[in-house]
Amino acid sequence: MERIIRIKYTKEGMMKYLSHLNLVQIFSRAIRRAELPVSISNGFNPRFRISFCPPLPLGINSQAEYLDIKVIESVNLKELQKRLNHALPEGIKVIKGKEIPSLSSSLSKTIDSALFIVFLDLKRKKNNQQAAININSNQILTLASEEQKDKAIRKNLIEREDNYRLIEINQEIRNFLQQKEMIIEKSKPEGVKRIDIRPFISIMQGLNYKKGVLELKLHLKIGPQGNINPCSLVEYWLNQSPYQGEIIQIYRQELYRQGRAVM
């Protein structure tokens, strides 16, 4: 009896530099090494019957990738997880698995949104020193050090300043999201393609700002017409914002179907 096992796995560290195509090959070989009873397709070049979630762009970590594996006999999920993890390269790790009804619709068809967390090294642009909320940390610190040498207060003041900055950043983002259209240009082999990325954005919000690093939450839609790379959105925003920044790390935190995490 054929069954489908859905697994959730992470792809982190250096593994983020491997493409979706590489991943197909890596899993096929790991399955063979793990000697799992996976169903094989017919035809001249037999392949394992496995299907993936929407591809993760190169350079992005993930805490939540999914893979459906069609097996030809019942398997112990713990055993499958153990054997697969033993056979996978460092940086790709199965975190859980479950059997799903064999008529379930495919991952790539039903997943409709993704949550990303972007860590962004963020500063005001040099020619744009005027803050939306007028606060100057140096002034405050000078005052503080004159009147009060207490470290706790200094720390508190820095935190308070970071919080002000976060409010200010989120205000900028809200203004940014007012736009009805956000056209980016993608160069493709057949020429430059113009894409409106605005419809893809569900949530864009700063969660935290500490020591110059912004933790940015992006909830982006994935539709039949494709998806957008969070890097393109961040770059597009930075260009219009009073900030300059460099992406430090991006994580795909979860994939959703109609508002609920896949697993």
């Binding site: 250096m14 530099y17 493409s19 590489n22 090494r33 001249f44 056979a87 390269p89 020591k211």
Partner: protein
């Protein structure tokens, strides 16, 4: 939170997966005192280097030793190179991202002449002085081996020692000598001298070459008494038991040969007169059937590969090939694992074998008739007939193959117009045969390369044909074969010319190499990077004639730059073969006929 230097770079390059390592079966060791650290350097991209069995064998053998730490370094693509230079970061290994200049030894694999500039470039990117004379005991020792080391002379300025022949045993002997020397904290010269005691090791700085007024070599002689005047190539005595990497690294990204390469036999005595591999890898040795089945079983388990390639210079010559294929297909077929043969001998026997294999996975068919007439085939000692070719192809088309690949060569000695039109006639005949049996969906892939005379072959005395004539020949073929169902590919004549220069080059080419490197020549085997104008400039600036090396016929007694390097095949035998080529006389394979007295089986070598 900060981004490390490596990620900063990898974010900006194409295919960053090439540089990250972390593949399954990669070996990462802790750096402990007394450990010898060697970088196995491959002067081309990851995708190329990871396709070579020899490279994997050495990695495996070295890392089996507890006290040795071997890591891989490949040429970075030009985008990463630019960043490394800009940031002044040395090129690094894939295992621990260790800078190249941080190893005790660097061992280069030399596959062919067109990777020479990449060797220089890797040294420079590794922040290691290019020239051997500028490096002392504080720099890594630079060694090199592989088929490209059989005429090492153009590289002697840059490499401290060459390994001639098969590396499986000698590499550990080098480690041993190195360890003793390192413990005694000796000078580099002492190390080099000790290395000459190892059979198969060539330390070029202990040899002096003198030239005649006309530019030819007068003498090649050792400068020290204790150094051998002839360097004899190494051969593995017991090939059946030779180390085979049963836990090879499984690349994370697609490489050129992404499968298990099972070397079923080594050497070839078919005796094609243009073929260097056929001369330098002698004698023929086979692995036993039992051993091969066992090795493939283990390697499959350890890698999860879906294909095993039965590799060698001529795999259908394996004495039990039918039995081997049958057993493998029976055993692995049901697991969806395919078996493949890299190229086929031209006979129906081989086609039947290919059909056996086809049961699991679809495989392509490749034949190498080499030339267009039976006459020229006798000249080059390719002992197959046109009849064989057509009956093989007929069998193949009938068995359902729709695509075949045919290899040809132009510019061979004595080639005439008739031989060229012979290629056209042959291809057209193959096409009509294919159309008759296979119908419209048939395709013939024609690949034509230019003959390059190579050291240690019967044709080492021959001139390469002039570029203009070669161009004409290729354009003639291309115009005649511009037809539907025929795909025509041919090599760049200028690149073959450069290859011919270095294939029989001497020490004086070192400065040309250095100049070409300075001018930015690299990845010369890649069409998109090859810059012939810069090469011409490098030769011009050094007042060295390319024609002297490539298109000049040598006299019988001329001293070759590789005269002191011995493959075991005697010079008299090679000359005799050359003479036989002139009278169109063939020489049979000694496995099926009498001994040809090539010399390789004589005492001292095996």
């Amino acid at each position: 939170m900060d981004k490390n230097w490596l990620e900063k770079m990898l974010d900006q390059v194409e295919k960053p997966g090439r540089y990250i390592g972390k593949e399954f079966n990669q070996i990462v060791k802790k750096d402990q005192a007394e450990m010898i650290k060697i970088a196995l350097a491959f002067p081309d991209l990851y995708e190329i280097g990871m396709s070579y069995l020899g490279f994997k064998i050495l990695y495996h053998i070295l890392n089996q030793r507890k006290d040795v730490f071997a890591e891989r370094v490949f040429s970075p693509a030009v985008d990463l190179e630019r960043l490394l230079r800009k940031e002044k970061i040395p090129v690094f290994s894939l295992e621990t991202y260790r800078p190249l200049n941080n190893f005790d030894l660097v061992g280069f694999t030399i596959q062919h002449e067109l990777c020479f500039t990449n060797i220089l470039n890797l040294l420079e990117l590794g922040h290691i002085p290019l020239k051997a004379e500028d490096r002392d005991e504080n720099s890594p020792l630079i060694i090199a081996g592989g088929p490209g080391a059989f005429n090492p002379e153009p590289l002697v300025d840059f490499i401290d020692a060459f390994v001639i022949g098969e590396g499986e045993e000698v590499i550990l002997e080098i480690m041993e000598i190195y360890r003793q020397w390192k413990r005694q904290q000796g000078k580099k010269d002492e190390l080099l001298l000790r290395l000459t005691k190892i059979k198969g090791l060539y330390v070029p700085s202990f040899y002096r070459v003198e030239y005649k007024e006309d530019g030819r070599i007068k003498t090649i002689a050792p400068t020290k008494k204790e150094v051998p005047s002839q360097i004899k190539k190494r051969i593995i005595k017991d090939f059946d038991q030779a180390t085979y990497p049963i836990k090879p690294i499984v690349p994370n990204l697609e490489v050129v040969h992404d499968r298990i390469t099972l070397e079923i036999l080594r050497g070839c005595t078919r005796g094609c007169r243009f073929c260097q591999a056929g001369m330098i890898y002698r004698p023929v040795r086979e692995r036993s059937l039992i051993q091969l089945l066992e090795l493939s079983e283990k390697t499959l388990k350890n890698t999860g590969y879906e294909e095993i390639s039965l590799s060698s210079l001529s795999s259908t010559d394996y004495s039990q090939i039918e039995e081997l294929i049958k057993r493998m297909v029976d055993h692995f077929g049901e697991k969806g694992v395919g078996v493949s043969l890299p190229s086929l001998r031209i006979d129906t026997f081989s086609v039947n074998l290919a059909q056996q294999i086809q049961r699991v996975r679809k495989v392509g068919l490749t034949f190498a008739p080499e030339v267009g007439t039976e006459r020229l085939r006798r000249v080059i000692n390719k002992n197959v007939s046109e009849e064989d070719l057509f009956s093989s192809l007929e069998a193949a088309f009938q068995a359902g193959w729709r695509r075949v690949k045919l290899y040809f060569m132009v510019g061979l000695p004595t080639e005439t117009e008739e031989d060229l039109s012979g290629i056209v006639r042959l291809v057209k005949k193959v096409k009509s045969l294919g159309r008759k049996i296979a119908g419209k969906k048939m395709e013939i892939n024609i690949s034509v390369s230019v003959f390059v005379p190579k050291a240690h072959t019967p044709f080492q005395w021959e001139a390469q044909e002039k570029m203009e004539i070669l161009e004409q020949k290729l354009s003639f073929l291309s115009s005649q074969l511009k037809e539907r169902h025929i795909l025509f590919n041919y090599s760049d004549v200028r690149r073959s010319f450069l290859e011919a220069v270095f294939a029989r080059g001497d020490r004086r080419l070192g400065k040309v190499l250095e100049k070409a490197h300075q001018l930015g020549c690299k990845f010369d085997s890649w069409q998109e990077h090859f810059n012939y104008e810069n090469w011409q400039k490098a030769f011009r600036d050094n007042q060295i004639s390319m024609e002297f090396y490539a298109t000049r016929e040598r006299q019988k007694d001329e001293i070759f730059p590789w005269e002191h390097i011995s493959t075991g095949v005697k010079r008299e035998y090679l000359w005799q073969e050359r003479e036989k080529s002139k009278i169109e006389e063939s020489t049979p394979d000694c496995r099926f006929d009498s001994c040809t007295s090539c010399g390789v089986c004589e005492k001292g070598l095996i």
